[in-house]
């Protein structure tokens, strides 16, 4: 097992191990992320292999031997043929035409506009706050009433996609790409101010900016269906039900 102490062997083992572990992850990770993680591991191993002179010598020794040793002529020819041949095969595979759509980058949380118009009235999203939020501290009963209103709105209009448990697993959810948002996930509404949710609910998928395409969200535009109070109430319900507080700066 002496060969395991060689820096080149260790590098190969770590790279293979990293690849296998990442490949085992379920659901499978996109190729772009896999390539990045593998690059990070490769750079790390390059740094490690050259961090001391002794280790660097250990890394290069087998390569040097392979390149100069007369007794390894056949292996040398095989390796020096296999490397460009492998590159050629990979290139050939990469050039095979495919019907798949190209990989895309879709922004999940696009930047909201500074202001919108809702039913003809301008709303400044920079300053807009949920008018029912303050009831929590002043009138618990009224606050509960607004949450109840939001619950009604949600289960009449939203649960089919976003699910009974607000986890994006509604009965229609699997038919959509992109899938409906999972509000329980700390990466969604917990990261956002309430005015952001107002914008998303009011304008829906058609109101998304270009950076959130392709695969534009199937979220309907609720302006004209829900009024201002209903939207603020359902936002209140989303935060109360999930237990996430909205993003604030005070």
């Amino acid at each position: 097992m002496q060969f395991l102490k060689n820096a080149l062997v260790q590098t190969v083992i770590v790279l293979l191990l990293g690849f296998v572990v990442l490949e085992l992850v379920q659901p499978p990770i996109p190729l772009s992320l896999l390539m990045f993680y593998m690059s990070a591991i490769a750079v790390g191993m390059a740094v490690y292999s050259t961090s001391t002179t002794e280790r660097m010598e250990s890394f290069w020794a087998p390569i040097r031997t392979l390149l100069v040793s007369p007794s390894l002529k056949l292996l040398r020819i095989a390796v020096l043929t296999a490397i460009p041949a492998g590159a050629a095969v990979l290139t050939a595979f990469a050039l095979i035409p495919s019907n798949s759509a190209p990989a895309t980058l879709r922004v999940i949380h696009p930047a909201p506009p500074g202001s919108i118009t809702f039913e003809g009235k301008p709303i400044n999203l920079r300053e807009a706050v949920n008018p029912f939020r303050e009831l929590k501290g002043t009138d618990q009963q009224a606050f509960a009433g607004k949450v109840e209103l939001g619950r009604e709105v949600y289960f009449k209009n939203c649960f089919q996609c976003h699910g009974d448990h607000l986890d994006g697993e509604g009965p229609f959810a699997k038919a959509f790409n992109p899938r409906p948002a999972n509000f329980q996930d700390v990466g969604t509404i917990a990261q956002l101010q309430e005015s952001y949710l107002f914008w998303r609910i009011a304008k829906g998928g058609p109101g998304l900016p270009a950076e959130s395409t392709p695969g534009r969200s199937a979220m309907p535009r609720w302006e004209g269906i829900l009024n201002t109070d209903q939207i603020w109430a359902v936002i209140l319900f989303l935060y109360e039900k999930t237990g996430h507080p909205p993003r604030t700066w005070e």
Partner: protein, 592 residues
């Protein structure tokens, strides 16, 4: 230059166009140019009302012309503001310890600044003329708001030039006693005036991002103080001040690496090896606090306007931060790699080499977490397999809680690496050495565990708690761990035994390439961050106040951005190489 003019400017000194006095000639010409600029300033601003709103620059367009001029100017400005900060400190160390080598090092640092200051002024002039001629509408508005500060600015620049040149050229004349303290005072003035200049220029740049002190409907000035003290001003001041030190240290270390590899004698190799080490240390220690300053800046931008915050961090600019994370990772790895290579020149350093793999593991895992994007690039098949664009395992690494934790642990790992380096040739003789070592291990381990806990719990608390409390606690823990273990090291290694000396100059060339890589990566990073700050306004010259209606009012793609940033980096580093070369001519002349 005419002899008579030269004499008049230099108090009757004899005219000598070569050697040492060439710097004085350079100073004089820049002074004249700056003086002319100062008087031209209001005149330029006054004559732009009647012309067109925009003019076109040939071939590359107006925006790229201004972009390159502004970026290269800023790179030089950062360098000439950063280097004097530690040059003065090194000089003070020399004065207090009496060690001549520190004095020589401070002198060498300040030598890099003189010609660079002149070039900063020239690029500032280029930027000004480009703005005035290409963006007259914008310039008319900005100069209307900030006219008084723009009158003060050139005066301060003149003062800065005078102090910078006096500081360097009086070095050999003010060497002892009171005159040395006067010389040190000149260095202080270089920094004081330089910092005021930085803060003043920041008012204009930050006003464009987060305007204040104006009537939001008409854009008219209401309060100059509020326009200056706008929302992003102080966060940018802090961020740039620290970044300038890091940048100065990195470029100075790059200079030392370059000189090291060209050195022929063991003495020169030893000197430049040491200089590279000092530059790297300055870069590293200031760099460690830079992420916190950046985090504070972004927090303020979010608080100012969620649209701007999300545009930068979660919207179409979010991938810039992935690139930023990768470049900063290069810096982390480069700086640590240099330190690990440095263990070989220390007798006894081999005792700490086995720990490299553990520190590297933390760094690589940190890189992987930090650079995991929130929005993944995926094919429709991959999106379908994941059940959405969000990966349920790795997707959670795309938010700030994970990234802050990763950065803090990377900083902690770097600090541990430096502790090993610091004690590489020392053996503690303190009676409680074992216990003190355990305490240090406990502090580092405990800090790492708490940072990890806060990072995980950060997913389950409100953003305000995460931003205002957890992130601050994490930072404080890192600082506490670094400072307390350093303090314990002082106790631990008092009257210690040594395993040998540090063999300055016996450094592997690959370590010097790491220093060069750090200098290039930092320059490139600075260019990229300049772009992010600027593009956060999108199609506004002054955010939500003065719209950019020129043909360039679009947000360029990342590939295009990378090309321009790379061009700026090449121009800057090319000019820096020119400065190094000019400096080397003086050395050759002296040696001859």
């Amino acid at each position: 230059m005419d002899k008579a003019v030269f004499k008049a400017l230099n108090g009757g000194a004899s005219y000598n166009p070569s050697g040492r006095n060439s710097g004085l000639i350079s100073l004089a010409s820049v002074l004249l140019a700056a003086w002319a600029l100062m008087w031209a300033f209001p005149a330029l601003a006054a004559n732009i009302g009647a012309g067109p709103e925009y003019r076109e620059f040939p071939l590359i367009g107006s925006r790229v012309a201004v972009w390159v001029a502004a970026e290269v100017h800023l790179m030089f400005a950062a360098f000439v503001l950063g280097v004097p900060m530690f040059a003065v400190i090194v000089e003070l160390v020399a004065m207090l310890t009496g060690e001549k080598k520190y004095d020589a090092l401070a002198r060498e640092f300040s030598k890099l600044v003189t010609l660079s200051t002149s070039i900063t002024a020239i690029w500032g002039g280029i930027l000004l003329f480009l703005l005035v001629t290409l963006y007259p509408k914008f310039w008319n508005y900005l100069s209307g708001i900030f006219a008084p500060t723009m009158w003060i600015y050139p005066v301060l620049f003149l003062l800065e030039l005078v102090f910078v040149y006096l500081y360097y050229y009086s070095w050999d004349r003010m060497t002892e006693g009171r005159s040395k303290w006067v010389h040190f005072g000149l260095g202080i003035m270089v920094n004081v005036v330089g910092t005021i200049l930085l803060f003043l220029a920041n008012t204009w740049a930050t006003f464009m991002m987060t305007p204040g002190g104006i009537n939001p409907d008409t854009g008219e000035l209401v309060s100059l103080f509020e326009a200056i003290y706008n929302f992003a001003w102080m966060p940018i001041n802090i961020h740039r001040l620290i970044a300038n030190v890091t940048f100065g240290g990195a470029v100075a270390a790059g200079y030392a690496a370059f000189k090291f590899m060209y050195s022929k004698t063991p003495e020169d190799k030893a000197h430049y090896d040491w200089m590279g080490y000092v530059g790297m240390m300055i870069a590293m220690w200031s760099f460690l606090v830079l992420p916190f300053a950046g985090y504070y800046l972004m927090r303020e931008i979010y608080a100012y306007d969620q649209t701007m915050g999300i545009t930068m961090m979660g919207g179409f600019l979010s991938w810039v931060w992935i690139i930023q994370a990768l470049v900063i990772s290069v810096l982390f790895l480069g700086l640590n790699y240099y330190m690990w290579c440095g263990l070989e020149r220390i007798e006894g350093g081999e005792r700490y080499q086995p720990y490299i793999k553990y520190l590297l593991t933390v760094l690589v895992l940190g890189v992987m977490v930090w650079a995991t994007p929130h929005s993944l690039i995926a094919t429709p098949e991959e999106v379908s397999a994941m059940g959405g664009a969000h990966h349920e395992v790795f997707g959670s690494l795309g938010v700030m809680s994970a990234k802050m934790t990763a950065v803090n642990l990377m900083i902690l790992a770097s600090a541990i690496g430096f502790m090993f380096y610091r004690r590489a040739n020392k053996i503690a003789t303190h009676p409680s050495a074992k216990m003190l070592n355990l305490v240090q291990g406990g502090i580092f381990g405990g800090a790492a565990l708490i940072i990890l806990y806060l990072g995980i719990d950060g997913y389950f608390v409100s953003p305000i708690v995460r931003v205002e409390k957890y992130s601050i606690w994490q930072v404080l823990l890192v600082l506490f761990a670094i400072l307390s273990t350093t303090g314990l090291d002082v106790i631990l290694f008092r009257n210690c035994r040594t395993t040998g000396g540090i063999n300055w100059g016996r450094m592997a060339p690959r370590s010097q390439y790491a220093l060069l890589l750090v200098a290039v990566a930092f320059t490139w990073l600075m260019g990229l961050m300049g772009y992010v700050r600027s593009i956060s306004r999108q199609h506004w010259h002054v955010n939500k106040v003065l719209e950019d209606t020129s043909v360039d009012a679009f947000s360029p793609a990342l590939g295009y951005v990378s090309t321009v940033v790379t061009a700026c980096t090449i121009i800057f580093l090319g000019l820096v190489m020119l400065i190094f070369w000019i400096n080397s001519l003086t050395e050759k002349k002296k040696a001859a």
